[in-house]
Symmetry: none
Subunit: 202 residues, 4 copies
DNA sequence: GCGTAATCGAGACGGTACGTCCGGTCTTACG
DNA sequence: CGTAAGACCGGACGTACCGTCTCGATTACGC
């Protein structure tokens, strides 16, 4: 849909059922056998599809995995919105705790690591990811901060992009690199530390 | 050296020249052909070594890559120390700019991505990484913050672990996920934002 | 034309230009790429024709090749006749030398081997071949022998079928199985030996 | 054994059991599924062998088939000899009837057609065939004729090579090209006609 | 110093998956 | 309805590596 990197064949004739069977098979296999053992051959077999049908429409295994994620989030429809109770710290804690929850969920762990790996090794994929999946989410995060900023809860000259990354990156890093326990309590500490900053407040 | 996960053969008889040839070949090939096309077969051929000699001493491709990094950093000897001029912000800027420099260096980009990928998919490796490579570095970072804290430049109750992650994670994330430009200016903004926090300071 | 083995579609609406383009393409490709690499796909592409148009009208690759030969020889029109100067031995030498010439001609070698192979593996095709291509030619050979027989140059009780095969088979065998040099001199020896027989003539 | 056409790997380390399993599997499959559906993949699977082990030692499917025949006839050991009762015509009838029998045996029909096809399309194979399989047999045929020649039953100046081909080619041709019924009676007619020749004997 | 046991380079082995090609069927749009 | 075009499922192709195994040929101990 969004990831054709080569001169595309006649997309009008594309068989939609095959496309969905492939993406579903890819996602399922990712959970079942893990990223390292995921093969195009396996996806084709599981989807009941010729290998050529995959190679015709996707340039790489990563692109298939990626589109499987697109399919997943596309079903949600309208862009995401972060909760806004007026209390930023509470809202952020809520959201980050949910993120922690999701990252710890074994159903999503493997697929998301696979996605992260593909993105890390393929800038093209990264660009599409930034536009289609991460973009809307990041905008929602920025929007929540902007709202707090207007309410006077955040510094007027705050760099929202940096702020967003400063809140969410520590979580993603711990998760991806197994560099420490990923708990709700940790999420809270990140929120508190980010909001207050490192310097003493008199 | 550090990553034998299986009952080791008699290490005393190990041929040191082969070990180094393998690690060097692994590192070189990582640069030359990239992570995706790196093969044990290729490493063995390049190193002029039988495949069995690799399988005898390392449990996985990731372990070889990892030890190649160990070899690199082991040469440095004593533990790293961050500069301490008394001015935390300046020091952090300096260090982060250097980090940005290194991440943008094409000689290290591929190998480090490979290492990151292996760590992401192998918790055992992650543990060894945390202990041997990341540990000392992280301690140095914490130490610099502690020094600033004692000088009254940082909050007394600051969570140093979280603080460290809040400063360095945004950079690593941008780099690994290609989620934005990685510049010295960006490093400066991260430092400033982290130090001040998101909330307004009156 | 002669080899529809399945319930044929409405042949009246058949497009003659496509038929000829297909057969011509088949024959050309046979020369150019050889029998092993000849594909329906390739024929269709070369002929500017949909694959289905081939499958609609021919049951197998062999049938296409076969019809290509039919097209070739059909152009000759009336049935073949062997020369009859009254001197059988001379006439046979002439004809066999011509056959040797043709078999050695690189333009016909590949296609004819292809035809022979198809016939060897498909009795249906063999039957059509016997009727349409080989039949008339064989009749001409028999006729020449019959004429000689009536002139008293051949034994009265001679088995003409066996005689024909005894003269031509050695050539075809040498050619098809690469079992010896195929020269005009060899043709002469075959003629002489066949006419005289193995037994001594006192 | 005789058909390595490429720079051979270290043949000393070759696994004899695999070699024989491959050739046996090839021969069996040839009978079971036929030549057209014979695949390297199938042979490897049936033989319990990796595909590479076939590609390592044979340059083509034809070479495998060929060696399977070599294995078969190699087991017979010493060179073949045709019966010699002193009565050439009777002996030839016996041998040709046996040949007819064999060619009509469904167990050998498919494999031998396969061999014939490969030889027809691969001159290299044909050369090895001529030397290893057909050679000794042809020599035996020539020897029988030579014996009859010395006994005064054949013309003194008879071309033995041509004579042999004149006797056996008609049979092989009928069989390979399905160009007529292949019966004992036909064999007899060929023998008689060849011995007497076409010309009348007064 | 001398067997002997382990490591080494080499590479064949049974396998899995790759990415490509083609076979034969089916669908679409046109004439 | 026949056609050109070409997507589809299936499956074989020949290649690249996997991780295991077996070979001599060096080693380096232990006796």
């Amino acid at each position: 849909m969004a990831t054709q990197h080569r001169a595309a064949p006649n997309a009008a004739r594309r068989k939609e059922t095959s496309r969905q069977a492939i993406l579903a098979a890819a996602f399922d296999l990712l959970r079942e056998v893990g990223y390292a053992k995921l093969s195009i051959e396996g996806i084709a077999a599981r989807a009941g599809v010729g290998k050529q049908t995959i190679y015709r429409w996707w340039p790489s295994k990563g692109a298939v995995i990626f589109d499987a994620f697109l399919l997943l989030s596309a079903s949600e429809g309208e862009p995401p919105v972060l909760p806004d109770t007026g209390d930023l710290e509470t809202d952020l804690r809520l959201v980050l705790r949910a993120t922690v929850e999701e990252l710890n969920d074994p159903r999503y762990d493997q697929p998301m690591r696979a996605l992260a790996t593909e993105i890390a090794h393929d800038p093209d994929l990264a660009a599409v990811y930034a536009e289609r999946l991460d973009g809307p989410l990041k905008e929602a995060k920025r929007q929540r901060l902007r709202s707090a900023q207007q309410a006077g809860q955040l510094a007027e000259d705050l760099d929202l992009d940096v702020a967003v990354e400063m809140i969410w990156s520590p979580l993603l890093n711990r998760w991806l690199h197994h560099s420490g326990p990923l708990t709700a309590e940790y999420a809270d500490r990140v929120v508190a530390t980010a909001l207050n900053g490192l310097r003493p407040r008199h």
